[in-house]
């Protein structure tokens, strides 16, 4: 019989404004990880970033494909110090955003590649974005953190779930 998987490892809903969402002590028993940030709201316009295993070195890069209002766009960056999860417009305080982050072979001894889907709409514009992220490190992933640019807090009600697949 096939093995059941896709297991919520940890889930939380912010009770108050918080600068950083962190998952630590991530177990190694899965093939992939998935992080879902839901109802993402922040006090002012910002971008949302991430880090792996606390690494703030220039070890991240991404390639992005996104639609903003009526235009299709693409961008990329290398040697970043964080995961750049959304390229154009990040979360706002008025309408919630949604993000999923799929992390493949997170315990392998290869560099880690990830896929991100971001969606937001504020009834006069919005962004839908797909991007691929690279973390140039061969260590197993044991912690993940998410934060906004300019030290903007996530607002209460933002949800964060870590899944093991």
């Amino acid at each position: 019989m096939a093995t059941a998987t896709y297991v919520p490892i940890a889930t939380q809903t912010l009770g108050s404004a918080t600068s950083t969402i962190t998952f630590s002590s991530i177990p190694s028993g899965y093939t992939d990880l998935r992080v879902v940030l839901g109802n993402i709201q922040a006090a002012s316009g910002c971008l949302t970033y991430g880090r792996i295993n606390g690494d703030s070195g220039s070890n991240y890069s991404y390639t992005s494909l996104y639609g903003q209002s009526a235009a299709a766009n693409a961008t990329n960056a290398i040697n970043q110090t964080y995961l750049n999860l959304v390229s154009a417009v990040g979360p706002l305080s008025s309408n919630p955003s949604f993000m999923s982050l799929d992390i493949f072979s997170y315990t392998s001894s290869t560099y880690k590649t990830m896929l991100v889907n971001w969606a937001e709409d504020y009834n006069s514009g919005g962004v839908v974005e797909n991007n691929v992220q690279l973390w140039r490190n061969t260590s197993a992933i044991t912690s993940l953190s998410f934060f906004n640019s300019s030290s903007v807090n996530f607002l209460a009600g933002t949800t964060a779930t870590l899944w093991g697949i």
Binding site: N76, N130, V132
Partner: protein, 175 residues
């Protein structure tokens, strides 16, 4: 419960398990030119294939179903970027379906392929493919693709081809 930095991820327990996503088979090829999942059971609503793999000699990641490589039996659309501009396109009446990007060299390419209603015998089969790769250069490969297999047969096997693969390929059933 409010969120605090440093959640101990392993501290939560089993009542959250949903049990509707099942690992059917996993392969970890090394320098394989094709990867086949065969004898796929017809008991799920949809399939999801997830992979993390290097590729060389690439024509891109290709998928054929049930061993069918007949010209005219496949079609695809894509929304794609290699780093600096977005493009979209399509092709019809082809031998296979797959990614338009060739994938990056050196590092892992990753993808999620969703195949809905794969066991239905009264309609053609559609897939959604989300794929990407990044080499820490100004290029890369990020794309969202659709694929069509023009057949009403239930899918019972699936074959990857297009390059030489080393990595992990996992097939899941979703009930």
């Amino acid at each position: 419960m409010s969120l605090t930095p440093g959640i101990i991820a392993s501290s939560l327990t089993g009542h959250l398990i949903t049990n509707n996503f099942f690992l059917i088979s996993q392969q970890t090829p090394s320098s394989a030119t094709s990867i086949t999942f065969s004898s796929i059971p017809n008991t799920y609503k949809s399939l999801q294939l997830r992979y993390s793999s290097t590729i060389s000699g690439s024509a891109g990641y290709r998928i054929n179903f049930n061993g069918d490589s007949t010209n005219g039996h496949y079609a695809q659309h894509w929304f794609y970027s290699a780093g600096s501009s977005a493009s979209a396109g399509s092709s019809a009446n082809t031998y296979t379906t797959g990614t338009v990007g060739l994938g990056v060299s050196t590092y892992q390419n990753v993808g999620i392929v969703d195949i809905v209603d794969y066991a239905n015998t009264s309609k053609n089969k559609t897939l959604k493919w989300f794929a990407g790769g990044n080499n820490n250069t100004s290029g890369g490969d990020i794309e969202l693709d659709s694929g069509l297999w023009i057949s009403t047969s239930a899918i019972n096997s699936l074959t990857f081809s297009g390059g030489t693969f080393t990595g992990t390929f996992s097939l899941y059933g979703v009930s």
